[in-house]
Each structure stands twice: as structure tokens, then as C-alpha cells.
Amino acid sequence: MSTVLLSANQLSVRFGGVLAVKEVSFEVRAGEVFTLIGPNGAGKTTVFNLISRIYNPTSGTIDYAGPQGMLRLTDQPPHAVAALGIARTFQNIELFEFATVLQNLLIGRHTQRRSNFWQDLFFTPSVRAVELEARQKAEEVIEFLELQHYRDSLVAGLPYGVRKVVEMARALCAQPRLILLDEPSSGLNVEETDDMAFWIQDICQELGVTILMVEHDMSLVSKVSDRVLAMNQGEILALGTSREVQSDPGVIEAYLGSVSDVSSLRRPVVRSGSHP
């Protein structure tokens, strides 16, 4: 029985009159791939933003097994989250547009810095050593995700698919214990999605990072997820393995759609010979 890394307890958040997340509770175990699915507006990214502490919950808490033991994540400021070992990617790509890919990755390593401002000002040998080490680690991630070609390009000119991968690379550079992936395969073609599936499995199995992701591509979800949580309109619909959730009637109703629907849309076949 693996340990619980993150647990959300009765999380709710209200924006003005809208209750975006309604008493959501779930647990993420160490070493697993946990996926959130659901239609748009279900509150999945909002849950991510709650974990990243970009939003404050109206009620409920999140507990996290930090480096020094369990702590209440909802008490932490946003910039402390990365140092605790939680990294994330963003749905609409929040890269540093006017920096190169390499610089983006090096910024990702910010939590690993060991120098203060004055040492930076004089660029002491210790800063130089840390810089070289950071570069080494960033290069390892570049090699892992095959970004060598784009290393020195400004992010602003890169195609969408590459940017998604750079987002993931940047999150990996923080050497996280938990990584939040927000729709990693959106905008990727079939081949790139296959690559993404392999990378997610590698991140989980080789690097030992727990993955919490939001995803719409059901085949990817089936392929990599250990457990799936389906949400709709801020509430939980179902929780279980991928197969269990995908066959849950409530989930099919709200999100997946049943197979028979499609056949009623099929156009009748025109027999040859009946053409004028």
C-alpha cells in the first residue's frame, strides 16, 4: 500500500456567485498516475490552481507529504509550492516568451539555487559551480524530452507542440515529487501524443515522479493512468480505474457519450443506379 502524497479534503471554491469546485475530496498516492477527466468548466484546472495556491479555497484543505512530513498545503504561499516539490504545467502555456528554451529550463531550476543576491552580484566561484551543475541537469532533461534542436531558440517563435513539451521540461527541471500536467496532449498530433504517453510513463517509472494530470484524450488516459477521477460542474462523478470510470453511466451521460448516439447520426447509404 503506497503512501498518500496529496489529499484534498472537501475542497470548495467560490468565485462571486459561481461555486466552481464543490466539496471535492481525493487522494493521490506516491508513484501513481492520477488523472482528472470531465467536460470543460468542470473545475479540473481550478483544482490545479488550488493546489498551486494561485487560488484560495473557500473551504476545505489540501494536505501534502512534504520533505519534512505532512503539512497543510493551503497554508502555504504560492512561491513556496515549488520548493516543496510540486511543479506544474499550464493549460494555456505560460512560458517565458522572450527567453530561450534553455533559459526557461534554467528558471525552472530556481528552487535549487544555493546563492544569494550578493554572491550573484560578484559571480563568485560557488555561483559558477552551481550554474554549471544547473546546466548539466537542464541538459539531462533536454535529452530526455529530445529538445536539443530548440535549445537556443526563443520560445516566442516555437510551434505549439514544442511549447507543450518545453512546459513539461521546465516542470521537470524543478526535480519535483509531484507534477501537475494540465492537458499535456492538447494540440498534439497522433505521433506526438504517443511520444507523450511514453514520456509520462518514463517520468513515472524512471524518475519516480507522481503525476496528477488533466486530460481529454481517452486513449491516452487509458494507456497511462492508474486511477481516474471524473468531475462535472465542480463535483465528483466517479473515482476508480480507467475502465471503471469509463463505463460508469453517470460519466457517460455527462462526458463520454454513449455509442448508440453516433449511429443515429449516420447518413443513409445511396445505392448506385438510383442516381439520375
Binding site: T45, N49, F90, Q91, E94
Partner: protein, 292 residues
């Protein structure tokens, strides 16, 4: 006590001027999310335009006013087309610098006009130097005209944005340009309209201010006080601009009278700093937070 009312009245009148210039800022900001530092200079040009129409062309007051406003509106549209449109994708700061540059050019060109630019001129308005006496107060008609004109203008603009297709289209284009394009809204044309409207408002402000401060090339520096007005009201809110202007005008007027020397000049800035501490988005401003 009389003094207090007197000061408040002149503060309201001055505040209306600030409010009108701030209104121009906010119009442009709402339409194109850019800040234009050239509003002060546009006001100055409007005043000079009115002066030219009244003295050179010898037009009667109302005709001169209308022609000056029309000319400035056209100028605003042309300015947008030639100078602003090409740079619309660029970071906000570059646009600000551009408008500062435009302001410099406008001020310099007016100053360069031989004999006219460097002098202070009097604008011959029909209500010049007229005074009303009521309840012991001496009321300057010029100030009353400012307040009245501002009220009328605000009502017109409110009607424009609330009830007319043009106003709604402008708001739509300001919130999401791409969606507005898809809906068939001529976004670029609307930007021109916004600038033209802002220039017209600035011209009106200039024509209203001219009888009080006279027409000269450095009139536009009042624009620097109108910025705090827009911020206090909340950038992005049209009524906020006027309210902000009034607040700044009144506080400035009262501090000039009751506080030691020098406070009058910085009153506007102290107010804006206080506002940014208490309510960072201004009185009616919207919360700026990017949704990720």
C-alpha cells in the same frame, strides 16, 4: 464657510477638466488597452484650434467650437490610422512611449509657429469674465459652463455606450479582439472611432479650459494631473474617470487654500498613492488577474 464653498466650486470645475481628459484616456484604454500620454497635448491643440477658428477665420462662437471639435476628431482618427495602428501588437510600454513622442511633436510644432506658439492668448468666448452672485458666493460663469458641459457630455457618452450598437461594439472589441473580428465587427475602424472620440473630448476640455487658463503651448501639462484622476476612478471605468477627476480637483483646490505652500502641486499625487494603497484598482476599477 463661504470660502469653503468657493474653493469647492472651483475645485469641481477644475476637476471636470481633469475628468474630461481622464475620460479621453479611459476611452482609448477601453478600446485598445493602450494608455495615451498625448491627451494633454490634444487638449492644447483643440484650444489652439478654437482660437484659430475664432480669431483668424472670424467664425462665431458656436461654429468655431464645432469646427474645432470636428477638426480634432478627424485628427484623432488620422493619428490612429497612421501612427497607432501599425504598432498594436507591441508591448504596452512601447505604445506609451509612442504617445509621449506624439505629445512632444505636437507641443514642439505649436511652439514653432512664429509669434503664436510662444505667446499666451485669450480665447474670445461670449461668457468671458461674467460673474453670477448667489447667496453671497461669487460664481465665475466660466466654471459653471465647464461643469454644465461636462454633465451633458457624460450623459451623451453614457447613452452612446449603453444604447447604441456602436458603443456595444466598441466594448466587445475592447474585451476580445479576435472574437470581435469573428463577429464581423470592424475592429480597426472602431479603434479609429475611439481615438476620434477621445480627441473630441480633449478638444472640448481645451475649449472649456481656455477661458480660465488662457491658450498657450504648455497647457497640455495639465494632462499629467489627469492621470491620477483616471487611476483614482479606476482605469477602464468611464464614470470613474469623471469621479476621479472631481475628487482630485476638489482636494487640490482645498489643499491649496488650507495647507501650506507646495501641497497644492502634489495633492493629486498623494491622493493617487493613497488610492493605490487602499484600493489598488481604483474606485470603480476591475480586478486585473490573468486567468490560467
Amino acid at each position: 464657510m463661504i470660502q469653503f464653498f468657493q474653493m469647492t466650486l472651483s475645485g469641481i470645475s477644475q476637476g471636470c477638466i481633469y475628468g474630461l481628459i481622464a475620460l479621453g484616456f479611459v476611452l482609448i484604454y477601453k478600446a485598445t488597452e493602450t494608455v495615451s500620454f498625448a491627451q494633454g497635448e490634444l487638449m492644447m491643440m483643440g484650444a489652439f484650434g478654437g482660437l484659430a477658428a475664432m480669431t483668424w477665420l472670424g467664425l462665431p462662437y458656436w461654429l468655431a467650437v464645432l469646427s474645432a471639435i470636428a477638426a480634432m476628431t478627424l485628427f484623432g482618427v488620422i493619428l490612429e490610422r497612421v501612427v497607432i495602428r501599425p504598432i498594436l501588437g507591441q508591448p504596452a510600454f512601447s505604445v506609451v512611449m509612442l504617445t509621449i513622442g506624439i505629445g512632444y511633436v505636437a507641443r514642439g510644432l505649436i511652439t514653432m509657429l512664429p509669434n503664436i506658439g510662444t505667446e499666451t492668448h485669450v480665447l474670445p468666448v461670449p461668457y468671458k469674465d461674467e460673474i453670477w452672485k448667489a447667496a453671497g458666493l461669487v460664481i465665475n460663469v466660466e466654471q459653471v459652463v465647464v461643469i454644465g458641459a461636462t454633465a451633458v457630455l457624460c450623459a451623451l457618452l453614457f447613452a452612446l455606450f449603453r444604447y447604441s450598437k456602436l458603443g456595444i461594439a466598441m466594448q466587445a472589441a475592447s474585451q476580445n479582439q479576435l472574437a470581435a473580428y469573428y463577429m464581423g465587427i470592424p475592429v480597426r475602424g472602431l479603434n479609429g472611432v475611439a481615438w476620434g472620440l477621445a480627441a473630441a473630448v480633449a478638444a472640448i476640455a481645451g475649449l472649456l479650459l481656455a477661458p480660465i487658463t488662457f491658450v498657450h503651448a504648455n497647457m497640455g501639462l495639465i494632462g499629467l494631473k489627469a492621470f491620477p484622476a483616471a487611476v483614482v476612478g479606476g482605469f477602464g471605468s468611464l464614470p470613474g474617470a469623471i469621479v476621479g477627476g472631481l475628487i482630485i480637483g476638489i482636494i487640490e483646490s482645498l489643499s491649496g487654500f488650507y495647507l501650506p505652500d507646495g501641497f497644492k502641486d502634489i495633492a493629486a499625487y498623494v491622493v493617487v498613492l493613497l488610492m493605490l494603497v487602499i484600493k489598488p484598482n481604483g474606485l470603480f476599477g476591475e480586478k486585473l488577474r490573468k486567468k490560467v
